[in-house]
């Protein structure tokens, strides 16, 4: 942790939560992407967050980082839609296995977490400014 280490830690939180929002927006944008039953359905993007290790020996970690993006099930949900040009001989198409309600909840949680990190940055900056007033 550097001299103003809280900013880096919260910055990493902002980064991860923004990536989460990006993933959720990608999922929601593709929620109606229909594929042939012979292809893989659109897979849900899930951000895997991992704690960043403690580099300063104080026992406190240095934030969070994204260790990877996991993809959801490729099987999707089989949907009967014979009018669709991609339908197979049974009239089925594949839709992504993504629940819109679940994605909306994730979006709200990610947004709140982002705002919480912003609040921490604000407070930390005030604290540091006060520390630099020592001896005035």
């Amino acid at each position: 942790m550097g001299i103003f280490g809280i900013l880096d830690t919260s910055g990493s939180g902002l980064h991860v939560n923004k990536l989460w929002l990006d993933a959720v927006s990608d999922n929601i944008a593709n929620i109606n992407t229909v594929k042939k039953t012979s292809d893989n359905a659109f897979q849900e993007r899930m951000v895997v967050a991992q704690e960043s290790p403690d580099t300063s020996g104080t026992g406190v970690g240095s934030g969070v980082h994204v260790s990877g993006i996991q993809l959801g099930s490729a099987d999707g949900v089989t949907f009967y839609d014979p009018q669709n040009p991609l339908a197979d001989k049974n009239g089925n198409v594949k839709r992504p296995d993504i629940d819109l309600g679940d994605q909306m909840v994730q979006m709200m949680v990610a947004q709140r977490a982002y705002q919480a990190n912003l609040a921490v940055i604000d407070r930390a900056r005030d604290t540091y400014i006060q520390a630099m007033g020592i001896g005035k």
Partner: protein, 104 residues
């Protein structure tokens, strides 16, 4: 004119060892031993406090510092120690001048 002030700071550390300061502090350390000892200690430690503040400022400049309050506290201590030394010097010079002006 620009050189004189820097020379002044450099010799502050030596001032603590000059006879006039020593005499003044020894005179104070007679009856009120605790206070006199404190003053002497502060004068001796002036260079040390300034060095500590310098080193912490260096660490902050190169990005190796851990806590901003470390440097701020050290800098305040160095500044107070310097003001104390200067005050003692001024008082000693004043006393010396008063003594010299006495009609024997």
């Amino acid at each position: 004119m620009a050189i004189a002030p820097i020379a002044g700071v450099a010799s502050l550390g030596q001032l603590a060892g000059t006879p006039s300061i020593d005499a003044a502090t020894k005179a104070k350390s007679g009856p009120g031993d605790g206070f006199g000892a404190q003053i002497t200690n502060a004068l001796d430690n002036l260079q040390a406090t300034q060095n500590t503040a310098d080193n912490l400022a260096l660490k902050a400049a190169t990005g190796g510092a851990q806590d901003v309050s470390d440097y701020m506290i050290a800098a305040t201590q160095a500044s107070l120690a310097t003001e104390l030394t200067v005050a003692v010097r001024n008082k000693a010079v004043e006393s010396f001048n008063d003594i010299m002006r006495m009609n024997i």
